[in-house]
C-alpha cells in the first residue's frame, strides 16, 4: 500500500492502482470520457487530467499509477481550464443535436458541458461531416458524434474478442470503422451491443430503442434473461407499459454488464400480433378452434381431466412443463400432476437436454448440478470445454472462457468434432468422431493413471472404486483411443498431461456430451477426470454443465421430473413421500412416473389419453417430430399453455394464453444454481393469464383448492419442503439472488459444492466402457448428422424469430456438408 494526498485528503491505495481508482475509492469525483472499469486505460480523452505536484504537465489520472507521497489536485484552476479547453475542442467537431439526440440525458459529453458550463466552442469545425449509418440491424452509427474515445474498439477487442472495429484514417479524418468499412454483419460483428453500451455519446445507439423515449421517462426494472442458462441480469427500460430498451448492470453477476444479441436486442417478440390473447377450445383436432371465455375453458379442462382420471385411471395422464418457465410454475405443475391427477407422469424439456447431467452428476458426486460458479471460469488455469459450442449457445459464458485464455493465460482444451470458434483459442483441440466421448475420456484417464499423474491423496480420501476404474481404462491406451475416436494419440497425451498438471482445472460441457444414448456415461466420465486429478471442491475447478434453456436447472430442481420432488427427493422414498403427502394434504403415488419419450410411446399405444403441456413445443423441437405428432394426435385431450400458436398448440384441444418473462414475477435458476428474481415489467396482454394462476384455477375447479397471492408465496412453500431452499424467500432474493443450497435464512448460499465432502459422501469413480452409438453410418445412410445451436436463435424460435432486428440478421438455417461427402454423392 502507498499513501498519497488527493485534494488534501490522505488516501491509501495499492501500488498497481491508478490515481483515478484511488480518487474514486476516496469518493472524489474525476470526470472521464474514455475510461471504463472493465477496459484497459487508453488516455485518449484527457478529461481526467489532474495536477500532480512536481510533474511537468497535467497527468491523465486514468492511466497514471499512484506513488508514495504523491500530491494530487483534481480541481485546481489549471485543471479546470484544461478540461474546459478540451471540451471546447471536442464540441467544435460535434453536431449541436442534443434536442433530438436519443442520448440526451445519458450523454457524458452533454453532462460535462453542463458541469463545466461550456456553452459553445471558439474553434471551427475541422472534420468533414459524414452521413449517419442506418444500414445495420440493431446498431445505429453516427460518426459525426464520435469523440474518438476508443471504448467501442477496446470493448470489442478486450471483452467480446471480435475485433470488428478499429481506428482508421488519420488526422481530422480519423474515424472508427470496420475493415473496408463493410457493414457490421460482414465484418465479424456478433451484435452483442457491447460497443453501444460503452459509447459515452450518441455515436452508437441501440437502433430499436431510438425515438421511443427519453431515459428519464422510463422505469428501470431488473430481471433475468430467458434465452439461455447463463441467466444474465437485465435492466428493462419501460415506458407506458412497453419495454423499449434492454441494458445490463456492470456490477451484477453473472454477466457484469455483458449481454449477447438475444438478451440485448431480442425484446420485441412480446408485442408480436400473433400473441395468443383468448382461450381457445375445440372438440376434436380436425375442427377449427373457437374462442371462448376463461370460465368455460377452465371448466372444460377440469371436467375432461376428471373424466379421464375416472375412466382411464391416473396413469392415462401426463404433464410436461418447461425449462423456460419459472421455478414457481414448475413447482405447481408437478404438484398439480402428483396431488390432483395422482400420477408421477411428470417431465420437462430437460429430458432431451440435460437430464443425463442430473443422472450422471448425481451418480458421481451426489448432486445433479454444476459444482462451481460461472465467474470461476475466468480464474481457471486449464479449461476443458467439451461438446459445447459456447460462443453460440452460451455467449456470455464464452466471454469468460476467452478472458481466461487471452488475459489470464489459461490453457484451453476443446473437445468437439467441429472447428468451433473456441478452437482459435485452444491449446489442444481434440477432434473426435461424433459419439465417441466416453472412449476419448477413458483415453485421457488412461494417460493420467498410466503416467502416475493422478492426485493420489484425493483419490484415497475422497473417492471410491479406483481399482475398477483402473481396470476399465487400461483398455484405452492412446493407440486404441486414436483408433476409436480419430484423435491423434499425441494430442490425447498432451491434453491429459495439461489437465493433470493443474490444481485449477475446470470442466465445462454442453449438449454435445448429454444428447447421446449414453449421455449420462459421458457426464460420469468427465466427473472421473475431475475426481482423479482432485479438481473438485475448490474455486476454479469442478464440472459444470452449461444448461440450454434459461431454467433447466430450476425445472429439474423443482421436481418437474418423474421420479423426484423438489431438489431430487425421491418419490419412492417413504419419508419424502410422507412429507409431501402431509404438506399437500393427499396421498401421493410412490411409483416413479413416465419419462417424456415413454409418454409418447404410451400415447401411440392408445393407453395414454390426456396431456397437459406448459410452454414447451415438442412437436417442433423433438428429434423425431413425426413420432411426437402422431402420439399427440392419438390423445383424447391435449391442453397447451402458450404465448404463440406453436406446432404443439396446433394439436391441442384447449389452448390457454399466458405471459412471457417480461410479464411475470417469479424466479429462474441459472447454470450456476443462482436463483434470481424476475420482476414483472409490463402488464399481461389483455385476455392472457399467468401460468401459475391457470394451474391453480384448474386444480381448484377439479376440487383441489390451490391459491396463492403471489409467486413469492409459492416460493415460501418450496422453501418449507426443500432443505436446499430453506433459506430462500423473495426478500432475500432481491438483488443478485442466492446460489443454492441455502440451508437457512442466514445462510449466504453455496457457490462451490462438495468442498469437504461430496453430497453422496465419497465421489464415485464410475467404470464405464465405451459403447458405440446405436445407429452408425452404413451404406444406406452413409453420413453423420449432428445439430448445433445458433447464436441468434433460441429453441423453437417462437420468441427469437419474432424480433425484427434479430430476424434481419439471421432468418434462415443451413447445413454444413463436408466437401468430400458431396463429391462422394
Amino acid at each position: 500500500m502507498v499513501s498519497l494526498l488527493i485534494d488534501g485528503k490522505k488516501v491509501e491505495a495499492a501500488p498497481s492502482q491508478t490515481i483515478l481508482q484511488a480518487a474514486q475509492k476516496a469518493g472524489i469525483h474525476i470526470p472521464t470520457l474514455c475510461h471504463a472499469p472493465r477496459l484497459s486505460p487508453s488516455g485518449a480523452c484527457r478529461m481526467c487530467v489532474v495536477e500532480v505536484e512536481g510533474a511537468r504537465a497535467l497527468v491523465a489520472s486514468c492511466a497514471a499509477p499512484v506513488s508514495q507521497g504523491m500530491k494530487v489536485s483534481t480541481g485546481s484552476e489549471t485543471v479546470l481550464r484544461a478540461r474546459r479547453l478540451n471540451l471546447e475542442l471536442i464540441w467544435s467537431n460535434h453536431p449541436n443535436d442534443c434536442l433530438t439526440c436519443d442520448k440526451t440525458g445519458e450523454c457524458k459529453l452533454q453532462s460535462l458541458m453542463y458541469d463545466y458550463n461550456v456553452k459553445t466552442s471558439r474553434f471551427v469545425a475541422q472534420n468533414p461531416p459524414t452521413k449517419p449509418d442506418d444500414s445495420n440491424p440493431a446498431i445505429y452509427r453516427d460518426m459525426n458524434k464520435c469523440i474518438l474515445c476508443g471504448k467501442c474498439v477496446r470493448i470489442c477487442d478486450e471483452v467480446q474478442n471480435q475485433h470488428t472495429l478499429a481506428f482508421s484514417n488519420r488526422g481530422m479524418q480519423t474515424t472508427i470503422a470496420t475493415a473496408f468499412e463493410k457493414p457490421l454483419k460482414d465484418a465479424g460483428c456478433v451484435f452483442c451491443g457491447h460497443c453501444v453500451s460503452v459509447c459515452p455519446v450518441g455515436a452508437l445507439m441501440d437502433k430499436p430503442s431510438m425515438n421511443k423515449g427519453r431515459p428519464w421517462e422510463t422505469k428501470k426494472v431488473s430481471t433475468v434473461c430467458c434465452y439461455c442458462g447463463v441467466g444474465c441480469s437485465l435492466v428493462l427500460h419501460v415506458k407506458k407499459g412497453e419495454v423499449i430498451r434492454v441494458t445490463s448492470d456492470t456490477y451484477s453477476p453473472p454477466n457484469y454488464g455483458s449481454l449477447c444479441v438475444k438478451g440485448r436486442y431480442g425484446f420485441e417478440f412480446y408485442k408480436s400480433p400473433d400473441r395468443l390473447k383468448t382461450p381457445m377450445i375445440r372438440d376434436s383436432i380436425d375442427q377449427p378452434f373457437r374462442e371462448t371465455s376463461w370460465e368455460e375453458a377452465i371448466g372444460l379442462v377440469a371436467r375432461k381431466l376428471l373424466d379421464i382420471k375416472q375412466h382411464h385411471g391416473t396413469e392415462a395422464f401426463g404433464c410436461l412443463s418447461s425449462s423456460r418457465g419459472t421455478n414457481e410454475e414448475n413447482y405447481l405443475a408437478q404438484k398439480f400432476t402428483r396431488a390432483v391427477m395422482g400420477t408421477n407422469n411428470m417431465d420437462n424439456c430437460a429430458r432431451v437436454c440435460h437430464a443425463p447431467s442430473v443422472t450422471g452428476l448425481r451418480a458421481a458426486l451426489g448432486s445433479g448440478a454444476a459444482t462451481n460458479s460461472l465467474a470461476d471460469i475466468e480464474g481457471a488455469e486449464v479449461l476443458i470445454v467439451s461438446g459445447s459450442n459456447t460462443t453460440e449457445a452460451h455467449p456470455v459464458a464464452a466471454l469468460k472462457i476467452k478472458k481466461a485464455v487471452r488475459q489470464n493465460g489459461a490453457k484451453l482444451i476443446v473437445i468437439d468434432p467441429r472447428e468451433i470458434e473456441l478452437v482459435q483459442f485452444a491449446t489442444v483441440w481434440l477432434r473426435l468422431k461424433p459419439g465417441t466421448n466416453v472412449a476419448l475420456i477413458n483415453g485421457l484417464l488412461h494417460v493420467i493413471l498410466n503416467e502416475g499423474l493422478e492426485n493420489k491423496g484425493f483419490i484415497e480420501q475422497r473417492t471410491e472404486n479406483i481399482d475398477m476404474l483402473r481396470q476399465v481404462v487400461a483398455q484405452y491406451p492412446p493407440e486404441k483411443t486414436e483408433e476409436i475416436t480419430g484423435v491423434p494419440r499425441e494430442d490425447i497425451i498432451k491434453a491429459a498431461r495439461i489437465y493433470a498438471d493443474t490444481q485449477k482445472g475446470m470442466i465445462v460441457y454442453g449438449l454435445g456430451m448429454t444428447e447421446h444414448k449414453a449421455g449420462s456415461h459421458g457426464v460420469m466420465s468427465l466427473a472421473n477426470l475431475a475426481l482423479i486429478t482432485g479438481n473438485v471442491g475448490r474455486p476454479n475447478t469442478g464440472i459444470n454443465p452449461l444448461r440450454g434453456q434459461n431454467n433447466v436447472q430450476g425445472s429439474c430442481d423443482m421436481g418437474a421430473l418423474p421420479d423426484v420432488y423438489t431438489c431430487y427427493q425421491k418419490v419412492d422414498d417413504p419419508a419424502a413421500n410422507k412429507k409431501f403427502s402431509e404438506a399437500w394434504g393427499c396421498p401421493l403415488p410412490t411409483k416413479p412416473g413416465l419419462k417424456e419419450p415413454q409418454m409418447y410411446r404410451e400415447a401411440l399405444a392408445g393407453r395414454f389419453k390426456a396431456m397437459y403441456i406448459i410452454g414447451y413445443d415438442p412437436a417442433a423441437t423433438q428429434a423425431n417430430i413425426n413420432n411426437v405428432r402422431s402420439a399427440m394426435r392419438r390423445l383424447d385431450f391435449l391442453v397447451v399453455q402458450e404465448l404463440f400458436m406453436t406446432e404443439t398448440a396446433k394439436l391441442a384441444h384447449v389452448v390457454l394464453p399466458t405471459g412471457c418473462f417480461f410479464e411475470k414475477d417469479g424466479t429462474f435458476t441459472n447454470a450456476e444454481r443462482r436463483v434470481r428474481r424476475l420482476n414483472q415489467a409490463i402488464p399481461l396482454p389483455n385476455g392472457a393469464r399467468h401460468d401459475w394462476e391457470i394451474i391453480c384455477q384448474i386444480a381448484t375447479a377439479m376440487g383441489y383448492p390451490m391459491s396463492y397471492g403471489h409467486p413469492g408465496e409459492i416460493m415460501d412453500e418450496i422453501a418449507r419442503l426443500t432443505p436446499e431452499f430453506a433459506g430462500i424467500n423473495f426478500e432475500r432474493l432481491a438483488g443478485d439472488g442466492l446460489v443454492w443450497p441455502v440451508w437457512d435464512k442466514q445462510h449466504p448460499g453455496t457457490p462451490i459444492l462438495h468442498k469437504d465432502t461430496f453430497t453422496r459422501g465419497k465421489g464415485r469413480l464410475n467404470d464405464l466402457l465405451y459403447t458405440p452409438s446405436e445407429e452408425l453410418p452404413d451404406n444406406e445412410y452413409p453420413l453423420y448428422l449432428t445439430t448445433g445451436r445458433r447464436l441468434y436463435h433460441y429453441n423453437n424460435g417462437s420468441m427469437s424469430l419474432r424480433n425484427p432486428e434479430i430476424h434481419t440478421i439471421s432468418s434462415e438455417e443451413f447445413a454444413e456438408v463436408h466437401p468430400g461427402a458431396v463429391l462422394w454423392r
Binding site: 475485433h163 478499429a166 482508421s168 484514417n169 470496420t178 475493415a179
Partner: protein, 164 residues
C-alpha cells in the same frame, strides 16, 4: 468524406496471391510489429495493397482485419486501390501554375479519360496532382514515375504518354 477505398473489382479478382504468400512465409512467427514491413513489401510487389492480400495477412498473422485496415488507411504510403503501371504527377506548384499547369491537367484528363487521383481502366496510368516537385526552372513540369518532363505544353504532355 473519407479517402475512397472501394476496391476496384477488376483489380482484385485476379490478384495472384503467390507473391503475398512468399512475403508472408518470411515471417512465419510474425508479431504485430512485422505488420508494417509486410505491408510495405506487399505494396511494392503489387503496386498497392489488395484486399485479398490483407485477408491473407490476417490468416497468417492473426492480426484482425480491422486493425490492418486501420494501419493501411493511416499511412499515406499504402494504397488500397490498384495503381497504374506508371504514376503521372503533374505539378501544381506556383511556378507551374503560372506557366500553364491548368491546361496540361485539362489535356491529360481528356487524354486519359480519368480525373485526378484515378487510374486508367487498363491500369497503365495513375494520375495525381502534386505540389512543387522542386524543378521550377523547368516549369511547367510533370513526372512520370521518376522521370521529369519540363517546359511542357498541353500537346507535348499528351505526346509524352505515347512513350509508355
Amino acid at each position: 468524406m473519407h479517402k475512397s477505398v472501394t476496391v476496384n473489382k477488376e483489380g482484385t479478382s485476379d490478384v495472384d496471391l503467390a507473391k503475398c504468400r512468399a512475403i508472408l512465409s518470411k515471417y512465419n512467427r510474425s508479431t504485430p510489429s512485422d505488420l508494417i514491413p509486410i505491408l510495405q513489401q506487399i505494396q511494392d510487389a503489387y503496386g498497392y495493397v489488395p484486399q485479398t492480400a490483407l485477408s491473407e495477412i490476417t490468416a497468417g498473422t492473426r492480426i484482425p482485419l480491422s486493425k490492418i485496415y486501420g494501419v493501411v488507411t493511416f499511412y499515406s504510403q499504402f494504397s488500397l486501390v490498384p495503381r497504374g503501371k506508371h504514376t503521372i504527377k503533374v505539378c501544381t506548384g506556383t511556378a507551374c501554375h503560372i506557366k500553364g499547369a491548368t491546361d496540361i491537367k485539362k489535356k491529360l484528363t481528356e487524354a486519359l479519360q480519368i480525373h485526378e487521383g484515378e487510374t486508367t481502366k487498363d491500369f497503365k496510368f495513375t494520375y495525381e496532382p502534386v505540389a512543387c516537385v522542386g524543378t521550377c526552372f523547368l516549369a511547367p513540369v510533370m513526372m512520370i514515375d521518376n522521370r521529369y518532363y519540363g517546359k511542357l505544353t498541353a500537346d507535348k504532355a499528351e505526346a509524352t504518354l505515347k512513350n509508355y
